[in-house]
């Protein structure tokens, strides 16, 4: 059936998703163990055990045999560890770490539908096997399986079992039906049920146990085996087991026979029981996949329920699409609300006053909804950080270095969209730190008086509405001499250029720069830190480096908390409105005529406190008519572009600061130079978000094409760009609503915001 296949695929997807989460949990807890092997938290071991158990359970349901096989051994070892039968040593912990890595590989392989060659992990498997099962004989602790098989009692016996559950039995998530089934597996079973306690239907409580049973079991098994069936319910029932000779026929006159397959006692409470049982079992059993039956034998269900309960999961899994839809709708709501708010101003004063109060509340609630919805998308960076320890382990082993990773702030939350984009740059940075940052060998470190074990620190924190991710190492620091000579050699800087230390450090982000003497397979695959910087700046973030020779290097990534909304400055050029991201704005000012200069290549510059900043004339790049062309009468918004350079964007005026919802322009149209995305303003009109890096590139091209300059001459404006372009002419009148209170045009050297 094709529908079944489809369902199964869906469950598989859920399973792998869950595996990923579980592995992250296991990895984190293993890291705890590693740091503190003497003082192990039992909960950690239990949690890792549960993870492996869940992975195994799900794998069984989908018949990933290789995965099941490995998980089983791994689980067995963990089980012995948590029972205290195996001493936790560093060696064991590192074995566990390796086992976890193999488990991850096997899950990945299962997901890709391939199998891993057995020899890849057979060593570890054997080691685990030895530890988990090898010492069984010497272990005095009873093992249910061994006792069952080594039982000396043979021959048929007849057990008379009286089983009277207490009312709470069902509430404790036990299921008599499972007990009956299990006994049936032991031998020939006759069941009689006593329904005397069953009350009137009005008084019936659905989760109370009313029935009691008498069983006659004819079997070869030992008394132990029979008792074991009831092991988990002994506290919730009155149980009496007597042995009679097989031919003994004692009759219970006042009881009625009940077919085992459809016992009425369970049918009533079953529904309500189902949920509680599932919750309790969920953490121990296979992942919460609704339809395939849990792979564990039915008899294991009570066992699971009786074990210490896993911490309650108070979260739900939601499709990201649904959240996105919600975010979109809330964006619309915010826009509609702003639109209505503007209409209120047009009402007669007495009505307006009345409406104003309502709108104030509405505005507050909308803001709150927006914040809450955005919070739904927020996730701790833990999911990215959790992959790093393994990376560090593998790299350190490969490079022959001794490295310890310290992490902090993994609970710092950031939008899902950012999380997804974060992984690659972060991995690259960690690779870089291990490969280039840390000294070649442990001996080298000892020589310079440092501990053999190098430390790489990875941390995350919130700072002024952004997330900072910091990678620090205590390695040799940036070798500025070498960086500089390399940069000269590659033609990135000229030989006579004088650079500050910071500027030299910054060179490592230049395209085509790599100081590694030889290309290793760790980093230096032709792509370098320039890619990291580009990726990060694509996210609206920045990366900087601080280094102290011989002491270490520190990389700081600063990223916006979300890619769905942006704090923007609304600016006007002619009749057009544009948004400039607030994070890139340094300041805005109106230059005096004396501060404006022209270079020989036609570029305009403005001098600002002794520095020269290139002007980008937006009206010219975009062919906007009726814009203010004289910089001394317009405003210059100084923005920071890639590489920490500054350019001044010439605009008519600032209209105000606003949080905007980012909308893709490319969804229905092609990308447009100088525009990064679009948004919708309070009046329902689309406004374009400027791509300042793109504008800078455009401005340079225009300068190349034409060295004519037109500070005064307005006619040349329209001829500078390609012939296909047209001047922007508003074809109909619109009521020009200002989005916010216009900032005073007279303000000179207006400091919009200071970047810290």
């Amino acid at each position: 059936m094709s529908t079944n296949d489809f369902d199964l695929d869906q469950f598989k997807a859920t399973y792998f998703e869950e595996c990923a989460e579980l592995l992250i949990d296991a990895e984190t807890r293993l890291a705890d163990l590693q740091h503190n092997p003497e003082n192990v938290d039992a909960e950690d071991l239990n949690a890792i055990f549960r993870v492996v158990h869940s992975v195994k359970g799900g794998a069984g349901a989908f018949s990933f045999d290789q995965l099941v096989g490995f998980a089983h051994i791994y689980e067995a070892l963990l089980d012995r560890m948590r029972q205290g039968q195996i001493q936790i040593t560093e060696e064991i912990v590192s074995l566990l770490l390796t086992a976890n890595d193999i488990l991850t590989n096997l899950i990945q392989a299962a997901q890709d539908g391939i199998s891993v060659p057995e020899e890849d992990f057979v060593d570890v498997k054997n080691k685990l096997n030895l530890l988990a099962f090898g010492e069984d004989d010497s272990s005095p602790v009873e093992d249910t399986e061994t006792t069952a098989t080594s039982d000396p009692d043979k021959g048929l016996k007849k057990y008379l079992i009286s089983f009277i559950p207490k009312p709470e039995l069902l509430q404790h998530a036990n299921e008599p039906l499972l007990l009956v089934r299990e006994m049936k597996g032991l031998g020939d079973l006759t069941t009689t049920v006593n329904t005397d306690r069953l009350p009137n239907i009005q008084k019936l409580v659905s989760d109370e146990a009313y029935f009691s049973w008498n069983f006659e079991l004819v079997s070869e098994c030992s008394l132990n085996d029979v008792e074991e069936v009831f092991e988990f319910v002994t506290e919730d029932c009155e149980l009496e087991i007597t042995i009679a000779s097989p031919d003994d026929t004692s009759d219970q006159a006042d009881t009625q026979e009940v077919s085992e397959t459809s016992p009425p006692q369970t049918s009533a409470p079953e529904k309500s029981l189902e949920t509680t049982k599932e919750q309790a079992v969920a953490a121990m059993q296979a992942p919460t996949i609704p339809s395939p039956p849990p792979p564990a034998a039915p008899g294991q269900a009570p066992a699971a329920a009786a074990s210490p309960a896993a911490p309650r999961v108070s979260s739900i899994r939601v499709d990201l699409d649904r959240v996105d839809r919600l975010v979109n709708m809330v964006g619309e709501l915010v826009i509609t609300q702003a639109m209505l708010r503007q209409q209120v101003d047009n009402l007669p004063p007495e009505l307006a006053a009345f409406m104003a109060k309502g709108f104030e509340d509405l505005g507050m609630h909308t803001r709150e909804i927006q914040e809450s919805v955005m919070a739904v998308r927020m996730q701790p960076v833990k999911s990215v950080f959790a992959r790093i320890p393994r990376l560090v382990r593998e790299l350190a082993a490969k490079l022959g270095k001794k490295v310890e990773l310290e992490t902090s702030g993994e609970h710092t939350e950031v939008d899902k969209t950012v999380i997804e984009q974060l992984s690659d740059p972060l991995i690259h940075m960690i690779r870089n730190s291990l490969d280039h940052g840390i000294e070649e060998t442990p001996e080298d470190r000892i020589k310079v008086g440092k501990p053999e074990l190098a430390i790489v620190n990875l941390s995350a924190e919130h700072r002024s509405g952004r997330i900072h991710i910091i990678v620090t190492d205590d390695g040799r620091g940036i070798n500025r001499e070498r960086v500089k000579s390399k940069a000269i050699e590659k033609g990135i800087i000229s030989a006579d250029e004088h650079l500050s230390d910071e500027a030299i450090d910054d060179l490592i982000f230049s395209p085509g720069f790599s100081t590694a003497e030889e290309v290793t397979d760790v980093s230096g695959r032709g792509v370098g830190m320039d890619v990291v910087r580009r990726n990060i700046s694509n996210l609206g973030g920045r990366i900087s480096v601080q280094s102290r020779p011989g002491k270490g290097t520190k990389f700081v990534m600063s990223l916006p908390l979300t890619l769905a909304v942006l704090d923007g400055m609304v600016v006007a050029v002619g009749k057009e409105k544009f948004i400039i991201s607030l994070t890139s704005i340094i300041e805005s000012l109106r230059p005096a005529k004396t501060e404006l200069h022209k270079l020989s290549n036609g570029a305009d510059v403005v001098s600002l406190r002794g520095e020269y900043i290139r002007l980008v004339r937006l009206h010219r790049l975009f062919n906007i008519p009726n814009a203010q062309k004289d910089p001394s009468k317009a405003l210059v918004v100084v923005v920071e572009i890639e590489g920490g350079k500054q350019v001044g964007i010439l605009v008519d005026e600032l209209l105000g600061q606003q949080q905007v919802v980012i909308k893709s322009l490319e969804e229905n149209y092609d990308p447009v130079d100088g525009i990064s995305a679009a948004t919708i303003l309070g009046n329902g009109m689309v406004a374009l978000i400027l791509d300042v890096d793109g504008l800078d590139a455009m401005a340079r091209q225009v300068n190349h094409r034409s060295d004519r300059n037109d500070l005064e001459n307005e006619n040349t404006d329209t001829t500078l760009l390609s012939e296909n372009s047209k001047s922007l002419i508003q074809t109909a009148d619109i009521s020009e609503e200002k989005v916010d209170i216009p900032l005073s045009k007279e303000t000179q050297n207006l400091e919009v915001m200071e970047q810290n």
Partner: protein, 185 residues
């Protein structure tokens, strides 16, 4: 949402009629018919496949995109989605439309994108047999030749059927604006 379900229904109708190998083959007179929405630009009448039409709305002010061809009339906000608007008159080289409130924007789906076309009026819904559709005669290098999928005569008027995929999907080719872009298909 209502709109969507309608479209879904229509799409189903399309698949069932165009599935020539299936049982629908038994109803040739049915499968050979298509419906078009027609609209006028000046004197000329054009038609687009009704299945691709998502919405028809009056002209509203758009936000102009810088450095785009003349016929690209900017973008507008269609319930939170940014939709580009093309001026059909201008696309056929007849000058820009002086858009007023009486002008109409027809929102159509072109592959997985949504675009709006600015026209003068919407006139009719036509049901046309495939056999009535005539090829566009080979003329000089008129733009129409390439962007029309056929011609149809209804009650003495000629209706030109648009090939919207050619018309708007490849709009970048001529202008070279985004020639460097790699289209993911």
């Amino acid at each position: 949402m209502q709109n969507n379900s309608l479209v879904a229904q229509e799409n189903k109708a399309v698949t069932s009629t165009t599935d020539a190998d299936g049982t629908e083959l038994a109803l040739p007179e049915d499968s050979g018919q298509e419906q078009f929405i027609t609209f006028t630009v000046g004197e000329q009448e054009y038609g687009v496949d009704i299945m691709s039409v998502r919405e028809i709305k009056g002209w509203t002010e758009t936000t102009l995109l810088p450095n785009t061809p003349d016929y690209m009339r900017g973008v507008l906000n269609l319930r939170g989605v940014i939709v580009p608007i093309f001026d059909l008159r201008c696309r056929f080289g007849l000058g820009e439309t002086e858009a007023t409130n009486l002008h109409v924007i027809v929102i159509i789906a072109v592959k997985d994108r949504m675009v709006g076309i600015l026209v003068d009026t919407v006139s009719d819904i036509l049901t046309i047999s495939n056999s009535d559709i005539r090829d566009v005669p080979k003329m000089e290098t008129l733009i129409e030749e390439e962007y029309l999928s056929g011609l149809v005569t209804i009650e003495g008027r000629m209706v030109a059927l648009l090939n919207q995929e050619r018309l708007f999907d490849t709009q970048a080719i001529e202008t070279g604006i985004s020639a460097s872009l790699t289209e993911e298909t």
